[in-house]
Amino acid sequence: MTEDQLIKVMVAEIKDLLPELEDTDISGTDSLVELGLNSMDRIDVIMAAQNEVSANIPMTSFAPAKCIADIARIIQDANA
């Protein structure tokens, strides 16, 4: 799975979490916090992406992630 595909999965999860973002353009450079997600929502988004590729990465590894694409890269790097 490519980084773009992982981002797509996360964007779908974000829109399901916050229906008010339905018509918002969300891209890899967007930050979860700035989109209005809280720390539990963040876990849902990261888990949705991990489940897609059966990754098993500790949540602490995602601490440096600043945007959606960062999360995708961390998953890609760990699964490489």
């Binding site: 399901d16 979490l17 876990i43 849902d44 990261i46 888990m47 489940n51 059966s54």
Partner: protein, 419 residues
């Protein structure tokens, strides 16, 4: 209650389960004694097939939209997104009860409390996550330790209804429903709270738990006969209970609180008692059953009950002990109903579900029948085999017992019943 401490009343009811998805459907089920909610289940790891009532998928968001408004539906959607069917069903029943009680949605109140009946009701979440953990070799449920607590339903109800007073899960095995109602009753009597939402969380049995009940010999067999007749409560052919998935909800208030907001009272709670019989075993104890029934009736006053809602699970030892206890407490002309004969056994929610069923019957003046009762066990009571109509039911004695020595009885009165 006739003393200075003030009366306690019930002003709202709700139900969601295999037996019906609202109180009107529950009423139909009780009137017709239709058992088409039961199905046969099998699992390769479980020794025998079994019969159970399996609830449809609850949709609290749609319930919130139709009973309240779009804002409530939005809030419910967000709060239940990762929730399992158990809490979703509990919330759906609670939304009905809240609306039935004509309570407003929105204001936060520190004078309301919430009690959820039934421990271990998150087994559904933990066991399915455990299976996935083993088969996939990784955790896939990010919110496991949020959803894996059975207190999640307490939190959910508190968040949806703005309940900022006390909250707790109340467990007493199969008597959990009764014990939770009594917890609410005592909180109301202490003056700590003016209104209590009591929700019976459904038991959604996993194959593991079914195998465990079969090992105890407590579950009815999976035969055509069980499918057609349900559990055989108080019958010589009784051979175990039939589980059913159901959530039920009640709104309890002090009479003063209900009166101040002009609420319609559905029933009064006029007596109660609970007691342990010092046993870790599943078995019943007749003497303690007698004690709680007598104490609850004595608290309610001189008037005799017009109907008994028996615990009667269709388990020979339990039914015999209860029949013997009832023969000692009520006279031989007091009609005895066995709600589990029609509804099945809600387990953790049974006490709340059967209280709703008793209120439905009081309001509509009928007693439900018992399709599986052909040859009653001794001692002989006035068992209600066929539905009885056009009755005035003023007072109900409502029993609940649970594995490990739990005994409870609650007396419910029609609101306009004289002292």
């Amino acid at each position: 209650m006739q003393d200075a401490l003030g009366e306690l009343v019930i002003t709202g009811c709700g139900v969601f389960g295999a037996v019906g998805t609202n109180c009107a459907e529950l009423s139909d089920r009780l009137q017709t004694a239709n058992l088409d909610h039961l199905t046969r289940r099998t699992d390769p790891r479980v020794l025998e097939p079994w019969i159970a009532g399996i609830m449809p998928d609850p949709d609290p968001e749609t319930a919130a939209k139709s009973l309240f408004d779009d804002d409530t539906a939005k809030k419910v959607r967000r709060l239940t997104r990762a929730a399992a069917n158990g809490p979703r069903a509990g919330l759906t029943a609670a939304l009905q009860a809240w609306q039935d009680a004509a309570l407003p949605m929105g204001p936060v109140t520190e004078d309301a409390s919430v009690f959820v009946a039934g421990q271990n009701t998150a087994n559904e979440v933990l066991l399915s996550a455990s299976e996935a953990f083993t088969s996939e070799g990784r955790l896939s449920a990010g919110r496991l330790m949020q959803m894996g607590h059975d207190s999640f339903l307490v939190s959910l109800l508190s968040a949806v209804f703005g309940i900022a007073g006390d909250g707790a899960v109340v467990g007493g095995a199969q008597a959990s429903g009764h014990i939770a109602i009594l917890q609410a009753v005592r909180a109301l009597r202490s003056g700590e709270t003016e209104l209590a939402l009591v929700v019976g969380a459904p038991t959604i049995l996993s194959p593991l738990e079914v195998a465990g009940y079969q090992a105890l010999g407590a579950l009815a067999n999976g035969s055509e006969d069980t499918l057609a007749a349900g559990c055989r409560a108080f019958d010589t052919g009784a051979a175990g209970f039939v589980p059913t998935e159901a959530a039920a909800a009640l709104v309890l208030e002090t009479a003063a609180h209900a009166q101040a907001r002009n609420a319609k009272v559905k029933a009064r709670i006029s007596g109660w008692a609970s007691a342990m019989h010092r046993s870790v075993e599943p078995g019943p104890d007749c003497a303690t059953a007698v004690r709680v029934m007598r104490n609850a009736l004595a608290m309610a006053g001189a008037r005799k009950p017009d109907m008994v809602s028996a615990h009667a699970t269709g388990t020979p030892a339990g039914d015999s002990a209860e029949a013997e206890a009832l023969a000692a407490v009520v006279d031989a002309r007091t009609p005895v109903t066995a709600p589990k004969a029609v509804l099945g056994h809600g387990l953790t929610s049974a006490g709340v579900l059967e209280t709703v069923a008793a209120i439905v019957q009081m309001e509509q003046g009928f007693l439900h029948g018992s399709p599986g009762l052909l040859e009653p066990i001794a001692p002989l009571l006035d068992h209600v085999r066929e539905r009885r109509d056009s009755l005035s039911i003023g007072r109900v004695l409502n029993n609940g017992f649970g594995f490990g020595g739990f005994n409870a009885a609650i007396v419910l009165d029609q609101p306009d019943l004289g002292a």
